[in-house]
């Protein structure tokens, strides 16, 4: 009995000790295979690693409160609103010496979401563009405008690919902003007129779209079930590499359209009610290590914002314009801002109408 009690106490003490744990909630397929193990070996802190695949899911958990997570990774425009709702605590920058590694240009851009970077650090960033099956597109339209949004938004073009399957990312913020940008309208405007025009544009191509989904297109494009997909850069590049690995004769090309497109930043932040804030700081600082950031980028094909890591990233990744775009492409990229709840509702309602016709 006594021995049992001692054992029980040591278990309880062990789990509550200062060595402790850190509960991380990140996007699926978004970290190198050895990152967690390296962190645990270096600090002795146990990581409970959990994943999500939409910002909405993460946000619902954060807004409900007491999520139990210590580090979460929302996208900029979501983080912006969550800061307003009081979800996050301010970072203690004295505990984050690796902040010196971060690219000052990118940190300045994300200040539009988080003024003076008080609550967050960039994890990875990427673009929302499209990818296509080179052979299938070539067969159907030899002179296809493969570097333009016209591939998606021009009904005369996209209709030619309807038979081999066109998919669009299930994200009204990204797609409606891209449509507005294609029309030469300000993606950040809350004008209902602009929204109406974007809706008409999407309605015009709607019948050529097979489905809207947050991630299904990764597999389908690689397997040849679809031939054109709008999605996140890293996902589409993964699809490209899966097709190459499978040697199934399918060749995928990712494009950041020449008209420009959405750039987004995923940011690490600590919830105000995080049970292990100290360990959370250690985890964030660890990720900002140049080698660790480079390892993640090499594995997930998303660019990091860690200037010190760039020379450690594989040359084939840094030279890939889909991951590290050149300056001329960069100039055409724009970040999304958080909209007012009223506009969000109208936009989501429009999105439902586009998808269902209701």
């Amino acid at each position: 009995m006594n021995r049992f009690l001692v054992l029980l106490l040591s278990v309880v003490a062990g789990s509550a000790s200062a060595q402790g744990v850190v509960n991380v909630y990140n996007w699926s397929d978004y970290i190198a295979e050895d990152t967690i193990a390296k962190f645990e070996a270096e600090t002795g802190i146990k990581v409970n690693y959990d994943v999500f695949d939409t910002n909405e899911l993460l946000e619902a958990k954060l807004l409900a409160g007491s999520s139990g997570y210590d580090v979460v990774v929302p996208t900029g425009n979501f983080l912006e609103r969550q800061i307003q709702a009081g979800v996050f605590r301010q970072l203690d920058k004295s505990k984050l010496p690796n902040l010196a590694n971060m690219d000052p240009d990118i940190m300045r851009i994300v200040e539009q979401h988080d003024p003076s970077n008080a609550h967050s650090v960039v994890y990875m960033w990427g673009t929302t563009g499209f990818a296509y099956n080179t052979k299938a597109i070539q067969e159907r339209m030899p002179d296809a405008p493969v570097s333009s949004w016209a591939m998606i938004f021009d009904p005369d073009v996209v209709s030619k690919f309807a038979d081999c399957g066109v998919a669009i990312l299930e994200s009204p913020t990204d797609i409606i902003a891209s449509a507005k940008h294609y029309l030469g309208l300000d993606p950040a405007s809350e004008s209902s007129d602009d929204l109406k025009q974007a809706e008409e544009l999407l309605m015009g191509v709607r019948k050529h779209i097979r489905y809207f989904h947050p991630s299904q297109y990764i597999n389908d494009l690689a397997n040849g079930d679809i031939c054109l997909a709008v999605g996140y850069s890293g996902d589409l590049l993964q699809s490209r590499d899966r097709a190459a690995d499978a040697k199934n004769g399918i060749e995928i090309e990712y494009v950041i359209p020449e008209e420009g497109g959405v750039v987004w930043f995923d940011l690490m932040a600590i919830p105000a009610d995080a049970p292990n804030a100290e360990e959370a700081h250690q985890f964030i600082n660890f990720i900002m290590d140049a080698q660790i950031s480079a390892d993640i980028t090499n594995y997930v094909f998303y660019a990091n914002a860690n200037a010190a890591s760039t020379e450690l990233v594989n040359p084939e990744v840094t030279s890939d314009p889909g991951i590290y775009p050149g300056d001329d492409v960069k100039a055409g990229l724009f970040a999304l801002k958080a909209f007012s709840p009223r506009y969000d509702r109208i936009m989501n309602r429009t999105w439902t109408r586009i998808k269902t016709g209701q």
């Binding site: 619902a60 807004l63 709702a85 009081g86 969000d344």
Partner: protein, 300 residues
């Protein structure tokens, strides 16, 4: 003597308290919480709605916002989604019944030990994850999937057909998933069927078909209703199957609720949708319950 009677009544009370307590904790309290949120207003905060009760200078202030319900009437989307959900659930239930009844009939008329084996086979799919089984249907129905491959190798079609992301795929998914819930109550009522009644009907010159329609079917109506309810009710609120197998234009109330809760972060509207959904489901339930008790009266 009196003490024993008292103890017995106490025991009886206790037995009725368990389900009451269960309903109170797992149904009534969550229902009241949802009702409360549905009368609130959305805001950017944690949690993302305004409190219903507020102490203003030592006075309790209660703010009820019925606007959320009015909003649901105002926008035709919600009515359309409710109707569409009921329609999809109804079609799926009919399909499930048409497949489930012959299955249950076959199992009920089989001999032991075949009968036990067949029953086991009906329950067997529950041993793997529901999500995995729906995913398997994606592999079967997709463009380069098994079904298209089979049809093309048989020479029935030359180009792959689009099955996935259609209403048909949703019907298949629901019928497949909920089939055991239809078969088991049907089996229970078919196996209780008094065989002598069928012999009597035969003696009076009825063909097997006439016997089935005039004797077997009416006597198993309670099983049909129980099975149909077990399929119909969860199918109305089904979210996963239409999300995985359905098309963009498959508009079901589960998806609308998801949108309100996650995309719009409007918990009050989402709660109002849920409350109305409850009434949409309770309506047909009461109606079927009345038919059920009528047939039971008639048969007893």
């Amino acid at each position: 003597m009196r003490l024993v009677a008292k103890l017995k009544s106490l025991q009886r009370d206790w037995v009725s308290w368990v389900p009451t307590l269960w309903l109170g904790v797992f149904f009534l309290i969550p229902f009241l919480v949802v009702l409360k949120i549905s009368l609130s207003q959305a805001t950017i905060a944690m949690p993302p709605y305004l409190p219903l009760f507020d102490w203003v200078e030592s006075a309790l202030e209660i703010r009820l916002d019925f606007g959320n319900y009015l909003f649901l009437i105002d926008d035709p989307l919600y009515g359309a989604a409710y109707l569409e959900s009921v329609r999809i659930a109804f079609v799926s239930t009919v399909i499930t019944l048409l497949i489930g009844y012959p299955m249950a009939y076959m199992i009920a008329t089989a001999r032991e030990p075949r009968r036990t084996l067949l029953l086991l086979l009906v329950i067997l799919p529950f041993w793997t994850s529901f999500l995995l089984r729906v995913y398997a249907w994606i592999a079967i129905l997709k463009t380069n999937g098994l079904l298209n491959g089979l049809l093309m190798s048989l020479g029935l079609i030359s180009e792959p057909l689009v099955f996935l992301q259609t209403d048909l795929a949703v019907y298949i998914g629901i019928a497949y998933t909920y089939l055991p819930f239809m078969v088991l109550p049907l089996y229970a009522s078919l196996s209780k069927l008094d065989r002598t009644l069928l012999e009597a009907s035969e003696d009076l010159g009825a063909t097997p078909w006439i016997s089935f329609v005039t004797v077997t079917l009416p006597l198993t109506i309670p099983g049909v209703i129980a099975g149909s309810l077990l399929v119909f009710v969860p199918a109305i609120g089904e979210f996963v199957i239409p999300a995985l197998l359905g098309g963009n234009d498959t508009l079901m109330i589960g998806k609308v609720l998801w949108n309100e809760f996650f995309a719009n972060r409007d918990w009050p509207i989402a709660s109002a949708v849920a409350i109305i959904m409850l009434f949409v489901i309770v309506g047909p339930l009461m109606w079927l319950n009345r038919i059920n008790s009528k047939t039971e009266e008639a048969t007893s």
